[in-house]
Point group: C2
Chain length 453, copies 2
C-alpha cells in the first residue's frame, strides 16, 4: 500500500499524538469509562489467575522470571515486569469475560493495562499518568482494529492479540516518556511481534497469544527506549502490518478524529462469561424463567432464534468442556433456565457434565433468521402441557444500549474475586480505581491485587 | 483449507515423525551438514554478539533476566535460557551472514540451534541428542517454508522468523522428550507466536523477530511440557498458520519423504556478509582484480549484469550504512575491486563512508538480463585507457554447486570470532563440533563460546 496524502505516515502521526497527549485532553466520560474498564479488568484477572491454563503458564514463566519487581494479580509470588504483563493479560482474558470493544470484538484492556501496571511497579507512576496512557493504548488498539476489521479476524487473526501489542507498546512508551520518533520504533517492535491465531481459541495457546500482546508490547517500548530501531512505516509500509495482515485496510481509521473521538467509549462489559452474542439469549431465558416460574422438567423444547451470526458462532450442542460451553447457545439457555444464573460456575466443566443441564441442552435448538438484528434474540419455550412463552430481547445487558451500571461492575468484580479464591476485601481496590486520578503511586493500587503469602 | 487424505493431520504426522526419530536414521552426509551449519552459526553469533543492535537488546533483556543458567555467545554474562535463546538467535542473524536454505532463503540455524543450546545448559544433553534435534528442527522449519514459498515472503512475512519458531518448538520438544500429542501442542504454541515482517529488515526490529523465533519456540515446548494445550490442527486448520499466512499452501511439502529427504542438505554458507545474490558479483570482481592486477583509479566503469532479481534486490547506489551496503551491488563490486576483500569490515558504516569506495560505487551500474540465470552474474570492467575485461560467474562461492569447504567454514569462524573481539582460541570449539556425536554433555561445548569475565 502506498502512503498517500490522507494516510501517509500514520505511524508517525499516531506516535506524535501519543507523545503530545495530556490528561486534560480527556473528557470526563472518557476518564470514567477507562475506570470502568480497569475495574472490570481487575475482576477478570482475579478470577482467571487460578485457572488451569494460567496455572500451566504460571509454572513455566515463574521458574524463569527475572527480578521480582511486579505483582501477579491474584498471586503472592512477584515476578519481573515482562512476566507480570504476560500473566496478568492472560489471566484477564482466559474466560473471555473481559471487556469488548463493540465495533471489532477486541478485548482491549487485557493487552494494554498489564504493561502499564508492571511499569508502575518499577518507576513511580501517578494515577493520572496511568489513566492517560491506558486510554491512549486502548485507542490505538481499537483504531488499528477498526482499520483491519472485518477481513483480519475473518482470515484467522486473533485481533485482540495482533492489535493489542501495538496498544501496549504505545501505552508503555507514553509512560516511559519517549519521543514520537522512538514511539515509531516501538510500533516497529510491536509489528515484528504481532501474532495470534483464531485457530488457538479453546486452548492454552490462545492465552499465550494474549499474554504476549502485553509482554511484547512492553518489551517493544523498553527496547525502543534503549535505542532499538524499527522501520519508518511499521503499520502502513508496503510490507508493514496493515498490508500483510489486512485486506484493503482503511488506514484513515487510525487518524481520523484523533483526540476527538475516543474508542474506549465503544467499550462494553459482559454480564455473563460467554460469547457476547449470547447475552440476549441468556437475558431472554432468565426473564421467561422469572416471569413464568418455569421448572425445567416441564420444558419440552426451547427455540433460540437470532441473526445468522448467532448460529454460526454458538450453535454447539455436543460440548464437553466449560471452554466450549462459553460459545454454546444450547448450554447458555440450559443453565439460565435450569439454574437461573449464568456466572462462571455455570460455564465450568462440572456444569457441562451435570445430567440435568445436559438433558435440557438436548432440547434447545438454534434457528437462524436474518431479519433479527445481531444484537437481539428471540427465545420461545414450549412446555410439556402445550403452553408456549416467547420473548424478544432487542439488546442484551452489557451492550452499548444497556450498559452495566457502575454498581453492577462493582458486583461483578466482587463475584469474580470470590470465584478466584481471593481472600482480601476488594473494596479498597474498587475505591482506588474510582479515584485513580488522585493517586500518587499506582504501585500501591496494584499491590492490593496480590494474594497474601 | 480442508484436511484431505493427502495432507490431513500434517501437524500430528510431523509431530509423530519428530517423536519417533533416532540418530541412526540420519545419513552421514546429513550429520556432516548439520555440523557445518552449527559451526557457521557459532562464527556468526560470535561476530554479531557485540553489534550495536544486539547491544541494545542485550541491555534490555539482561536487566530482566531470570536465573543465570545459560551462555550468551561472545559474552561473559549468563542469563536464563529463554533470554539466551533470544540473544543468540539475534546475534547469529544480525549480519545475515548465517546459513541460507536455498529453496526458501530461510536462515534455519538461527531460530533452531539457540533453543537447543540453552536447554543443554539446564539438563544434560548429549551431542548425539543435540544433533538429531537440530536436524529435525531445521527440517520442519524448511519444509514449512517450502509449503508457503514464495507467496509467504512476497506478502511480507520474514520467513526465517515465522517458520523458524515451529522448528525451534519441535527441536526443543524433541530434547525435552515429550510425546507426539504434546509436540502438536508445542506447534500450537508456536502458531500463536509466529511473527516477523519483511518491513523490519534493516532495523533492530528484525532482530527482535529472529530472537523471538528461538525464544518463543523454546517457550512453546516448555509450556507444552507443563501441560499448556494447543489446537489440534495448528498448521493445517481452517484458521491455522498455513491458511492465515499463506496463499494456497502446499501442505504436502511438510510430509512428503519425511525421513528420506532432508532439507538440511539444501543449506548453504555465505562467503561474504551480504545478500546471497551478490556472491557471484563479488567472485567476478575478485577474479578480474586478481587476474589483471587492476588498480581502482584506472577503472572508468563497472557493469554488473544479472537476472532481474539481482537488480530488484541490490541495485542500490545511494547508501548510507553498512546495513544497506549488504544489499548494494554497487558497494559489493566497489569494495571487492578496491580492497580485494568482501568481509564484515567491508560492509561497515566506515567502509560505506570511505571516499575511495564511494567514488568507485558511483561508477558501477547494474543491468538486468533475464537470459542470465539467477545464480550467475557477469562483470564487465572498462578502464580509462579503453581496455575492457569481462567475466561470467555461473555459480558463486557458497552455492549448492560450489559449497564452502569444511576448511573454508573453519576459516570463516576464525575470522568472525576475531571480528567480534572474541579473545579465546576457537580451535577447541571447532574440534568439538566436528566430533559432537561423541560428546557426553553439550553444555561444555556451549561454554567454549562465552567470553572471559
Amino acid at each position: 500500500m502506498k502512503a498517500d496524502a490522507g494516510t501517509g505516515n500514520v505511524s508517525l502521526r499516531v506516535a506524535t499524538f501519543v507523545a503530545d497527549a495530556r490528561l486534560d485532553d480527556l473528557p470526563a466520560n472518557v476518564r470514567h469509562e477507562a475506570k470502568r474498564s480497569l475495574l472490570n479488568f481487575f475482576g477478570c484477572a482475579l478470577a482467571g489467575s487460578h485457572d488451569a491454563d494460567i496455572a500451566h503458564l504460571f509454572k513455566v514463566t515463574t521458574a524463569l522470571s527475572g527480578p521480582a519487581a511486579a505483582t501477579v494479580i491474584g498471586r503472592a509470588q512477584r515476578v519481573d515486569l515482562l512476566t507480570a504483563a504476560f500473566l496478568n493479560a492472560a489471566s484477564a482474558n482466559v474466560f473471555d469475560f473481559d471487556d469488548t470493544h463493540i465495533p471489532t470484538i477486541i478485548h482491549p484492556t487485557a493487552p494494554v493495562a498489564p504493561a502499564l501496571l508492571a511499569l508502575a511497579e518499577t518507576r513511580r507512576v501517578s494515577g493520572a499518568e496511568l489513566l492517560l496512557a491506558f486510554v491512549l493504548g486502548v485507542d490505538v488498539t481499537c483504531r488499528l482494529g477498526n482499520a483491519l476489521h472485518p477481513a483480519h479476524y475473518r482470515r484467522g487473526w486473533h485481533i485482540t492479540s495482533t492489535c493489542g501489542v501495538f496498544g501496549a507498546a504505545v501505552a508503555a512508551a507514553k509512560l516511559i516518556g519517549i519521543d514520537a520518533g522512538r514511539i515509531v520504533w516501538a510500533l516497529g517492535g510491536a509489528a515484528a511481534q504481532a501474532s495470534g491465531l483464531v485457530e488457538t481459541l479453546g486452548s492454552t495457546a490462545k492465552s499465550i497469544g494474549v499474554g504476549n500482546s502485553a509482554r511484547n508490547g512492553l518489551f517493544a517500548a523498553l527496547a525502543a527506549d534503549a535505542g532499538a530501531t524499527g522501520p519508518l512505516l511499521p503499520i502502513e509500509g508496503q510490507r508493514g502490518f496493515a498490508a500483510v495482515t489486512g485486506e484493503q485496510p482503511n488506514l484513515a481509521e487510525l487518524i481520523t478524529g484523533l483526540g476527538e473521538r475516543w474508542e474506549i467509549l465503544n467499550n462494553t462489559y459482559k454480564p455473563y462469561p460467554c460469547g457476547v452474542v449470547l447475552n440476549s439469549v441468556i437475558d431472554g431465558c432468565l426473564a421467561l424463567r422469572e416471569g413464568h416460574a418455569l421448572a425445567a422438567d416441564r420444558i419440552a423444547r426451547v427455540v433460540v432464534s437470532g441473526h445468522p451470526l448467532l448460529g454460526e458462532r454458538t450453535d454447539r450442542a455436543g460440548i464437553k468442556s466449560g471452554r466450549e460451553a462459553q460459545v454454546s447457545a444450547q448450554h447458555a439457555a440450559a443453565v439460565a433456565l435450569l439454574r437461573g444464573a449464568a456466572d462462571l460456575a455455570q460455564f465450568s466443566d462440572a456444569a457441562v457434565r451435570d445430567p440435568a443441564v445436559s438433558a435440557l441442552r438436548g432440547r434447545v435448538t438454534v434457528e437462524r433468521d436474518a431479519a433479527i438484528p445481531v444484537e437481539a434474540a428471540d427465545v420461545r419455550i414450549e412446555l410439556m402441557d402445550g403452553q408456549e412463552f416467547q420473548i424478544r430481547i432487542p439488546h442484551g445487558r452489557g451492550s452499548l444500549q444497556r450498559p452495566l451500571s457502575d454498581r453492577e461492575i462493582e458486583d461483578k468484580v466482587r463475584a469474580l474475586a470470590r470465584h478466584g479464591g481471593f481472600k482480601a476485601d476488594v473494596s479498597p481496590l474498587i475505591d482506588a480505581i474510582w479515584s485513580i486520578e488522585r493517586a500518587d503511586d499506582v504501585a500501591a493500587i496494584v499491590r492490593l491485587t496480590a494474594a497474601a503469602e
